[in-house]
């Protein structure tokens, strides 16, 4: 750690030093953007995977449980660094924005142009509202505990309602083959996926059957609890991986 600079002797950078510091800011921002586009997108594809890829995987139980739980990881780690070392409350929003940039690129080029799926079948979900709340919560509370409990919970609880405006229309019923399907199910039936038989879908499986038909809120609250724990875990992973030792020498 570098030595504390006394307040009295602190002089802000001016002139050439200020310009160089600003150039450094942009350099880091661009690098961070590409790093998070690649790494967070990869992490998300490997963990959330099909729940985010396909419209007919976005169910009431697993999708709102798994997506925020895996989605809060990088935001927590990056917040740990950007807030603790720089008091910058933008880690979560930056990460999720980078994830969405990578996701949209993959959906358009890999899924649509390369593998011929209609883009509406592979629309990604958004976690931006939850990420902004997470950033604001950390900034206002300046507390890991409060952010983990309330911010983590908000990140999970806001996920399903913020995505319902995108995906509700895909849950309209259709009569097809003497049965009732959603439009989303019909996408899965019609647009052939050789490696994705219907039984592979991990949807609507579980024991949330004793609360009437309110599976989505229950899954969201379960996710909220887990997100609070996951947030702390990844906060410390972020702290563990990050260093400002080079900055301290400037």
């Amino acid at each position: 750690m570098s030595a504390q600079i006394p307040i009295a002797s602190f002089k802000p950078y001016r002139g050439e030093k200020a310009r160089l510091a600003r150039a450094y800011d942009y350099l880091i921002l661009v690098l961070a953007l590409f790093l998070f586009i690649g790494s967070f997108h990869l992490h998300f594809a490997l963990t959330v995977g099909d729940w985010d890829f396909w419209v007919d995987w976005k169910d009431r139980q697993w999708w709102p449980l798994v997506t925020p739980l895996m989605g809060i990881t990088f935001p927590a780690a990056v917040q740990a660094v950007l807030w603790d070392e720089f008091r910058l409350p933008l880690g979560a929003t930056l990460c999720v924005a980078a994830l969405l940039i990578g996701t949209w690129i993959a959906r358009i080029f890999a899924y649509h142009y390369w593998n011929f799926f209609p883009i509406n079948m592979v629309l990604p979900a958004t976690m931006l509202p939850g990420a902004m709340v997470l950033d604001a919560m950390l900034m206002l509370s300046n507390s890991l505990t409060i952010t983990a409990i309330f911010g983590g919970a908000a990140f999970a609880l806001l996920f399903y309602p913020s995505n319902w405006p995108i995906f509700a229309m895909f849950h309209q019923p259709v009569e097809y083959a003497n049965s009732q399907l959603t439009v989303a199910d019909l996408f899965g039936f019609q647009y052939i996926r050789t490696g994705m038989p219907e039984y592979l879908r991990i949807i609507e499986r579980g024991t949330l059957r004793t609360y009437g038909q309110y599976a989505a809120p229950l899954a969201a609250f379960c996710s909220a609890l887990l997100c609070s724990l996951m947030y702390v875990l990844w906060w410390y992973i972020g702290k563990w991986f990050a260093t400002v030792r080079y900055l301290a020498k400037i």
């Binding site: 602190f10 070392e85 969405l100 950033d135 995108i166 039984y199």
Partner: protein, 412 residues
């Protein structure tokens, strides 16, 4: 300098060669990759036919046929409690519009019964022009993909002409190719703009080095201004309020939505078509001669029918060995399945009604090797399985038996 130029020159030549040389397309899609004992002793396809192999975008093609679920289902393969009749395509170049099992339309996965007989039909609609090698196949949960016979399909026309409209229960006609896309983009843009504004609010001011130094100097209070706090409070309250308001609007807009459907169909098998009890066949012994690429099978036939019967065909893993001496066994090829006249029987006399006879037949062809079926002798479960087709001498009526036996390799 010379030392630098040379490797660069070689690298550029290699890259140039990649563009100049003809690159053959990879046409196979792993149909021979599954271990032979699974291909032979799970789903046993027969009578698979395509309605046409040349059609245009928006036109339909159907593939229909039958399959027997082997009684001798391998112990290492989970029982077919969840399976899915699929079509191997390079992406959705066709769409699946209808699918039937034993005449019933079905969209989900299905549980099959070992020993059961089924007939299927899948209707497809051309979406993207091109020439594609397509198979019907079964996804078996926790086991893999058992391919049926493939065929080359040629789709003509223009991709832009493709249309796929569906009517919802409320009567709304929707275009599946574009439905919900504009709405999805709108919401992503909406939240994207707000998130970008939040990011720009912070990025517009000096960031890393400056803030780090100020934090180290104890000037934390200068890093977060009153305006910052005001905006953060607005975000903390405003974003959830917006989310809940938009969510409520959407619930009102689509009040009759339903959850994703996740049923497993239970469709009973047909009355026995294979091993129907009229002509029973029991495999006694099987030897595979590696050098001659020949499978020698000793079987016992118990003819309980009213007519004399003879062996016409043995099929396994989409390879059909035909008895060339039996006109009744005229074989209409299943797509591009391998058909060979390499079936020899030691006793050419018909098996008379009421007679039980042990005889030996040899199925020999290079297909054992080219189709990677000879790998059976190196499998953990080295038992062969297949369908034996017998025909009566009078009417040409067909009797089908699913047989299986442990295979003994003969290396010389």
């Amino acid at each position: 300098m010379k030392t630098l130029i040379k490797p660069w020159l070689i690298a550029m030549l290699w890259i140039g060669a990649l563009f100049v040389l003809e690159m053959p397309a990879a046409l196979a899609h792993g149909e021979k990759a599954l271990e032979p004992f699974i291909r032979m002793r799970t789903i046993q396809w027969y009578d698979v036919q395509w309605s046409t192999q040349k059609f245009n975008v928006n036109e339909e093609v159907s593939v229909s046929g039958k399959f027997h679920v082997a009684e001798d289902w391998p112990v290492s393969v989970p029982k077919p409690e969840a399976t899915f009749l699929n079509i191997s395509t390079p992406g959705p170049v066709l769409i699946r519009t209808e699918r039937y099992l034993n005449g019933k339309p079905w969209t989900n996965s299905v549980a099959l019964q070992p020993g059961g007989d089924y007939e299927f039909k899948v209707v497809l609609k051309g979406r993207l022009p091109g020439r594609y090698h397509i198979h019907p196949f079964f996804n078996l949960k926790d086991a893999g993909q058992v391919m049926g016979p493939g065929a080359w399909l040629e789709i003509g026309g223009e991709a832009a002409d493709f249309n796929n409209t569906v009517k919802t229960i409320h009567g709304e006609i929707i275009d599946m190719e574009s439905f919900g896309f504009g709405n999805g983009v709108f919401w992503h843009l909406f939240w994207g703009v707000l998130a970008t504004a939040w990011l720009l609010w912070w990025v517009r001011r000096p960031l890393f080095i400056s803030r780090y130094r100020m934090l180290e100097a104890g000037l934390e209070h200068e890093l977060i201004t009153t305006n910052d706090k005001l905006i953060a409070k607005a975000v903390l309250v405003g974003v959830p309020v917006l989310v809940l308001a938009f969510n409520a609007m959407e619930i009102n807009r689509y009040p009759d939505t339903i959850p994703l459907q996740a049923g497993l169909d239970q469709i009973l098998p047909l009355p026995a078509q294979v091993n129907a009890g009229t002509v029973n066949v029991d495999a006694l012994k099987a030897e595979y001669n590696v050098a001659q690429r020949a499978m020698v099978l000793q079987i016992k036939i118990d003819n309980r029918s009213q007519s004399a019967v003879r062996i016409g065909e043995f099929s396994t893993g989409n390879v059909h060995f035909i008895n060339p001496e039996l006109p009744a066994a005229r074989h209409k090829p299943d797509g591009d399945a391998i058909t060979t006249a390499g079936l020899n029987i030691d006793d050419k006399q018909s098996v008379q009604p009421g007679e039980q006879r042990v005889l030996t037949f040899v199925a020999h062809d290079a297909a054992w090797e080219s189709e990677k079926l000879d790998g059976l002798i190196r499998d953990a479960d080295s038992r062969i399985g297949g369908l034996l087709f017998l025909y009566d001498d009078l009417l040409g009526k067909r009797y089908i038996s699913s047989i299986s036996a442990a295979v003994i390799p003969k290396f010389s």
